[in-house]
Symmetry: C2
Subunit: 431 residues, 2 copies
C-alpha cells in the first residue's frame, strides 16, 4: 500500500470515538482491496487533502479512516454490470469506516451525503457497494430530538398496552368521497379496530380534500369511541410539498385529528424531522420509495439503515415492508427492522414498528411469532375493507384472531364459533 | 385475461389525454405479462376498486391503464434475486401506463409516490422494475413554476454566451478555513474561471460557517471581477435540514452571493421546489444520492427521469453524473440528460446541464463533442485546484483548452506555447 493510502487507515482504539460515525459497507472491486478502501475514504471525505504548495495534511482531522476490512468472497462477474467494468474477478469486501462527523454535523441530509453520496457511490474501482449500517456516538445522537411520542405515546393515546395494534388502511384507497371514506372507517372502528389511516396514495386531493376527509372521519371516530368505549386513532396522510406539511399538520390537529403520516422517502427525511420537532400528534412514516435503493442484495443501502435514519428523524411509528411474498423481504430483515425500532438507543424514544404487506386476521400469528413481540402494529387494507361482511366484520375477524392467539387456540378452531374469522379464512386464507 | 384485469387496459386515443401522466416501465415477470401489467396498474392506483356491497367501479376515473405493452426478451434468472422468486423464465416487458393525475396532483412527492412508490415496486409477480420515463400533459406542467433563472439567467449573470461555462469546485473540499477557501477561489477567478462552488460535502459546518465563508469569497470575488473585468459566480452549498434552507439562502443573498446549491436527493426535490419558488439567485442541484436508485440497468429509475423531475422542481442548473469511468454512465445517458435540460418543454425554462466527473482541461473537447452543444458547464475540482501551478494556473489551462478548440488546434499542439495547459496535460493527461 502507498503511503498516500495508509493515512486513510487507523486503529479504532487510537481514535477519539465520540468524533466519529462509523459507516459499514459491502463493496466489490477487481483491484487491491486496501487501496480501494482508502479511495473510498478519500472520496467521501477530504479528496484532495492539501493545497498545492502548502505543507499541510487534512487527513488526521477530516479524513475518513478504515478501521476494519475483510475479504469475504469472490465473484466472477460484478453484481451490477458496469459500462466500464474490467477485471477477471471481483473481491467481495466488508469495511468499517470511521468518518469524522465534523464534516457534516447533526443534520440528516448532510449525513446521507457523507454516507451514501458521491463519495461512496462514485469511488474509482467500486461499482457495486451497499451501506450496511451506521453506528452513531452518544454525543452525536444527543443532537437529535427523536420521536416526540414514540411507541409508548401511541399506546397511551389508545390505552392499549398488552397486544399488537391494528390500524386499517381504508380501501378503496383512492376515489372515495370524504363521507364515504368516513363511513367505512366508522364501521371498522365499531368492529374493534384501533385506528384507521389514509393510504399512501391518498392525500389532499381535489375529490377528497384533507380538511373535509379528516373532519368527516373525526366526527365518526368520536361516535365510535362513545359506542365502543375504546379510544381510536386516525392517521391522515399529509404527504405534500414540504412547504405545506406544517400547515396540513396544523389543520389536522385543529380538526381533532390524532395522527399524521408522511411518505418518508418522497418528502425526504429532513421534512420528517422538521415536522416531528413541532408535531402535536404522533407522526408515522410510509416506506413508499424505499425499494429502489434497498432491494438489491449488494447495492444501495439496507432497510436497516433506513429504519435507523427514520427513528433518528423522529417518526413515532414506522410503516415498513413486512412479511409475505409481495414485499420481497426475508423474515430476518423484517425482524431486524422491528428490533431497531424497539432497541434502547441513547435517549431516543422507541418507535412503533409497523410491518405492512397484504395482512389479514390469519397473518397475525405469523407476525407475532416471527417478530417475537407484541409491540408492533399491523396495517391491513383488504383484510378489513375487503372482508365479505364489510369493514366491521373485517375488523372483528382480526380481534378474534388475537383472542385465539391469547387462548392458544388455532384460528381454524376458533373460527368454528366466530363467523367473521371464518369468513376471513374463506376469503383470504388460500392466498 | 380476466375481466377484472381487462378494465386496466385502454386505448390511448380513447382517453382524455390531459387527465393523464404516462409512466413508462421496464419489468420482469415469470407470469402472464398482461395480467401482471394489470396488477401493476391496480397496485399503483385503485387497489380495491369498489366497496363491499356497493355497486360501483372506481377504475374508469381513478384507475391507471395500460396503453402499450410489449415483450422485448426473456431471462433465465431475474435481474435481482428475490427471496421468494419462482418461475423458470422471466419475460422482459416494456409497458406504458396512463395514470390519472387527479390521484396525486401537481406535487412532486405525491407524483413520486404514484410513479415509483409501493404500487410500482411491490406489485405481485414483479421483482425487477425500472421507471424509464414520465410524460406530462401540458396542463399538468403548467402547474409547475420550473426554473426562475434557467440557463439563460445564469449566462446573463456572467455575460458569457458563446462557450461552455467553467465552475470550479474548491478543493481541498473539506477542512479549509473560510479565508483559505476564499483565497483559492480568488486565484481561480484570476485565472479565468467563471465560477467557484462549495463541494457537496461542504456546508454550514463548525470549522467553516456558511456566513463567514460566503462573506470571504464574495469580497475576493468582487476584487477579482475588478481585476479581470469579468463577472464571476459563487455557488454556496446550502444543503441542510429543510427548515434551514430558506434562512441560508437569505443569508447568502444578503452577503451578495449569486448562486446556491442543494444536494437534491438528500434534501428531497420538494425542498428544491420550495426554494426555487422563492430564490433570488440561481439554484443548482448536486446529484449526490442518485446512484443507489439509478445505476442498476433493470431496476429503480433512470437518471433521465430524475433530470426531468429536477427541471420540474425548478433547478436552474443540474449537476449530474458526467462522462468518464468513475461515473459509471454511458455517453448516451449523459447526452440524453443534457438534452433533457435544454429541450423545449412547455413554458418551463431551460436549465443549465452540468455533467461532472474528474474533469480537467483535456476533458473539455470530449464533453463538447459528445454533448454536441456549448450550453453546458463543467465542474473541475482537482483539474483546477490540484494543478501544479495552483488554481490560477488550473483555471488558465481550461481557458486555454477552449481557445484551442475554437481555433481547431489539438491541445497538445496548443500546449507548446501555453505553459499551464502543458502542465495540466503532464499532471492529468495520463489517467
Amino acid at each position: 500500500m502507498k503511503d498516500e493510502d495508509r493515512a486513510f487507515f487507523a486503529d479504532w482504539d487510537s481514535l477519539e470515538k465520540e468524533r466519529y460515525c462509523v459507516f459499514k459497507y459491502y463493496f466489490e472491486t477487481p483491484f487491491d482491496i486496501e487501496e480501494t478502501a482508502a479511495h473510498l475514504c478519500r472520496e467521501q471525505s477530504t479528496a484532495l487533502w492539501k493545497r498545492v504548495g502548502v505543507d499541510e495534511d487534512f487527513r488526521p482531522l477530516y479524513g475518513a479512516k478504515v478501521i476494519e476490512i475483510k475479504r469475504i468472497g469472490e465473484l466472477k462477474r460484478p453484481s451490477i454490470e458496469a459500462p466500464h467494468a474490467r477485471g477477471r474477478s471481483y473481491s467481495q469486501v466488508i469495511v468499517r469506516i470511521a468518518h469524522p462527523h465534523v464534516n457534516f454535523g447533526p443534520r440528516v441530509p448532510n449525513l446521507i451525503t457523507a454516507a451514501c453520496g458521491e463519495g461512496a457511490f462514485f469511488t474509482p474501482g467500486i461499482n457495486a457497494i451497499k451501506l450496511l449500517d451506521i453506528e452513531f456516538p452518544k454525543s452525536y445522537l444527543a443532537r437529535f430530538e427523536g420521536p416526540r411520542f414514540g411507541m409508548h405515546g401511541i399506546r397511551k393515546t389508545l390505552g392499549v398496552y398488552d397486544r399488537p395494534l391494528v390500524i386499517g388502511v381504508v380501501k378503496p384507497n383512492v376515489g372515495l368521497k370524504p363521507k364515504e371514506f368516513a363511513e367505512l372507517a366508522y364501521k371498522a372502528y365499531l368492529g374493534g379496530i384501533d385506528g384507521t389511516k389514509d393510504d399512501e396514495m391518498l392525500s389532499d386531493v381535489a375529490y377528497s380534500p384533507t380538511r373535509e376527509r379528516v373532519a368527516a372521519v373525526i366526527e365518526k371516530m368520536h361516535k365510535a369511541e362513545d359506542k365502543t368505549g375504546e379510544k381510536k386513532l386516525f392517521i391522515a396522510n399529509i404527504t405534500d410539498e414540504v412547504d405545506r406539511i406544517l400547515e396540513l399538520h396544523d389543520m389536522v390537529v385543529g380538526l381533532g385529528g390524532n395522527g399524521v403520516m408522511l411518505n418518508a422517502m418522497t418528502v425526504g427525511l429532513s421534512a420528517a424531522r422538521m415536522l416531528s420537532k413541532r408535531a402535536k400528534v404522533p407522526v408515522f412514516s410510509h416506506f413508499d420509495f424505499i425499494a429502489p435503493y434497498t432491494r438489491h442484495p449488494y447495492f444501495g443501502l439496507t432497510t436497516q439503515v433506513v429504519t435507523k435514519l427514520q427513528r433518528l428523524s423522529g417518526f413515532d411509528g414506522i410503516i415498513m415492508p413486512g412479511l409475505g411474498d409481495r414485499m420481497n423481504t426475508t423474515q430476518q430483515e423484517v425482524k431486524d427492522n422491528v428490533d431497531l425500532c424497539l432497541a434502547p438507543w441513547s435517549d431516543i424514544k422507541e418507535t412503533l414498528p409497523v410491518p405492512g404487506g397484504s395482512d389479514w386476521a390469519g397473518s397475525l400469528l405469523t407476525m407475532y411469532r416471527t417478530l417475537g413481540t407484541k409491540d408492533f402494529s399491523m396495517v391491513p387494507g383488504r383484510g378489513v375493507f375487503g372482508h365479505p361482511a364489510g369493514p366491521e366484520g373485517g375488523a372483528r375477524s382480526i380481534r378474534q384472531a388475537w383472542e385465539a392467539i391469547e387462548r392458544g387456540v388455532a384460528i381454524e378452531q376458533y373460527a368454528k364459533t366466530h363467523v367473521e374469522l371464518r369468513q376471513a379464512i374463506e376469503a383470504f386464507g388460500k392466498a
